[in-house]
């Protein structure tokens, strides 16, 4: 590997401290991984292994308990995402980091094309330009044009997910976090979306992904990181109780 990683995670841990129940729930323990431009690193492991917890820690939706998450920015700076200032994280989310989850959070009164255009508008793009780019993305996602002006609230799972992906991809992030992007999709749509992800990967976007289907991991992953549920879950609970 002669290319430098865009993200290097070392010793990432995330424990949830639940005050009400007086419990500490370990979710991720000592996770190490690297993500490279134009490559896809896949996280695999059983339910409860903390795969999503890793993605959320990188995006700082979760506050990491321990470890360093070294991110290399567009202008070559190294930032520890675990420690970085909140404004810095907001800026990176706006300009460099994308996150596509299994669920679409959108206002029920917003047209799909506006949902997709939003990341560009937040970046300061002109409204009509943003909408044009959004429409191109929705075309690429094969979402019927008659749905563009409608809120995704009433869409089927597959349609919603295409809007969700379009929004995650429209601003061409440098690092893309994917949490089961093709869950709940039929094989035809899955194939379609996988091709789009492949194309973006070939364009140089670094990806860290969780896939539900093992065959997608085989097909898409350049690196595989296997996680296990944190050891000593039961023990820790007993220790505290």
């Amino acid at each position: 590997m002669n290319q430098k990683p865009i993200l290097r995670v070392e010793g990432y841990c995330k424990y949830f401290e639940l005050h009400e129940q007086q419990k500490i729930i370990p979710s991720s323990d000592d996770v190490n991984l690297e993500v490279y431009p134009g490559k896809l690193t896949a996280l695999i492991g059983p339910t409860g292994a903390g795969k999503s917890t890793v993605l959320k820690g990188i995006y700082r939706t979760y506050l990491p308990t321990n470890g360093t998450l070294l991110y290399r920015t567009e202008n070559g700076q190294q930032i520890d995402l675990a420690q970085a200032d909140e404004h810095r994280i907001l800026e990176l989310r706006k300009t460099e980091m994308g996150f596509v989850t299994q669920f679409l959070h959108a206002l029920p009164r917003q047209a799909s094309e506006d949902v997709v255009a939003q990341p560009l508008i937040l970046r300061g793009a002109d409204k009509s330009q943003a909408r044009t780019a959004a429409r191109e993305m929705l075309t690429a996602m094969n979402l019927p044009e008659r749905l563009w002006g409608i809120s995704p609230a009433t869409f089927s799972g597959g349609e919603k997910q295409r809007v969700n992906l379009a929004r995650g991809l429209v601003s061409r992030p440098r690092l893309l976090l994917l949490d089961e992007p093709t869950a709940s999709l039929d094989p035809v749509t899955t194939e379609h979306i996988i091709r789009i992800i492949e194309k973006l990967k070939n364009e140089g976007i670094a990806m860290l992904a969780i896939f539900h289907q093992p065959e997608l991991v085989t097909r898409m992953a350049d690196h595989i990181v296997e996680l296990e549920p944190p050891a000593g879950v039961d023990k820790m609970l007993k220790e505290i109780a």
């Binding site: 949830f16 959320k56 979760y62």
Partner: protein, 276 residues
């Protein structure tokens, strides 16, 4: 990104105050009432930064001190102690140490507040358009035609029928009164806007329209805003970062999605768990 406001250790005590007020109140004592002297510690050591175009949420239940913090910043109440620096056009203003005239100038030109209660933000004896004109007159716009056209533009932007601009605010619905307040606030194009429970008590559909308007203003004008609310939904929709207050103290702060999905403090965990 440009910094708009820095607040350091803002405190506000109602009452005589005593040396033990701060030690005997707060979340760990489950009260904001000093048992020694009977003073209310409404806010203590509130500190934060605010950048251009950013919306900061302040969340907490009634009596947590969230409104007190913004009222001090808008000069509605003098703080007991603390510092606030406002950055504007390359200048810095030590907000609490300005004289009354300078403070009024900031409040009329560069800051704006939208209150939960429209009676606080609007003069009910003059028309909707007159309210907007009043703010313009205070910020030295004297030309009648210009005032009238700017008032009309703002009202139409906030979707108040301009044919009704000469009506008194009492003739408007609650949602419309909020829109007139927002129009009045925006007419001087302030870089800093305070919003105190602006959608509380409104119908859901009206709430949604007002929140959409606020987001649109943020995106188009790059206005920095502080949004005070007890409503998690409003926080989630509007704020990039959030402070959680209880008994006058900031008990937690962070990125809004982090505060809501991975709350650190016991109180925030309870608050988030009690969302509908």
């Amino acid at each position: 990104m440009d910094k708009v406001l820095t607040v350091k250790n803002l405190s506000k005590v109602f009452g005589e105050g005593c040396p033990e007020c701060f030690d005997l109140t707060g979340p760990e004592h489950d009260t904001n009432l000093c048992p020694r002297c009977g003073s209310i510690v409404a806010a203590h050591n509130v500190s934060f930064d605010l950048y251009q175009g950013e919306i900061l949420g302040i969340m907490g239940e009634s009596g947590s001190g969230k409104s007190t913090a913004v009222k001090c910043l808008y000069f509605d109440q003098p703080p007991s102690s603390g510092e606030a620096i406002f950055y504007d056009d390359g200048e810095q203003y030590d907000v609490f140490n300005l004289n009354a005239a300078q403070q009024r100038r900031l409040a009329n030109h560069r800051f704006a507040m939208v209150y939960q209660n429209p009676h606080l933000g609007l003069n009910f004896d003059i028309s909707a358009g007159g309210n907007i004109a009043e703010r313009l007159l205070m910020s030295d716009v004297k030309n009648y035609a210009e005032i009238r056209s700017r008032a009309m533009r703002l009202l139409s932007r906030t979707e108040v029928q301009t044919e009704r601009m000469d009506e008194l605010p009492k003739n408007f619905s609650g949602g419309m009164q909020q829109r007139v307040q927002i129009a009045k606030a925006l007419v001087t194009n302030p870089p800093l806007l305070f919003l105190d429970e602006v959608t509380t008590g409104l119908d859901l559909s009206v709430q949604a329209a007002i929140l959409d308007l606020i987001l649109e203003i943020q995106q188009q004008n790059k206005t920095a805003m502080i949004v005070v609310t007890h409503d998690l939904g409003v926080i989630r929709l509007l704020a990039g970062r959030t402070l959680v207050m209880k008994y006058g103290r900031v008990i937690e702060s962070g990125l809004t999605d982090q505060v809501l999905e991975d709350p650190q403090h016991a109180y925030t965990q309870r608050l988030v768990a009690s969302a509908l």
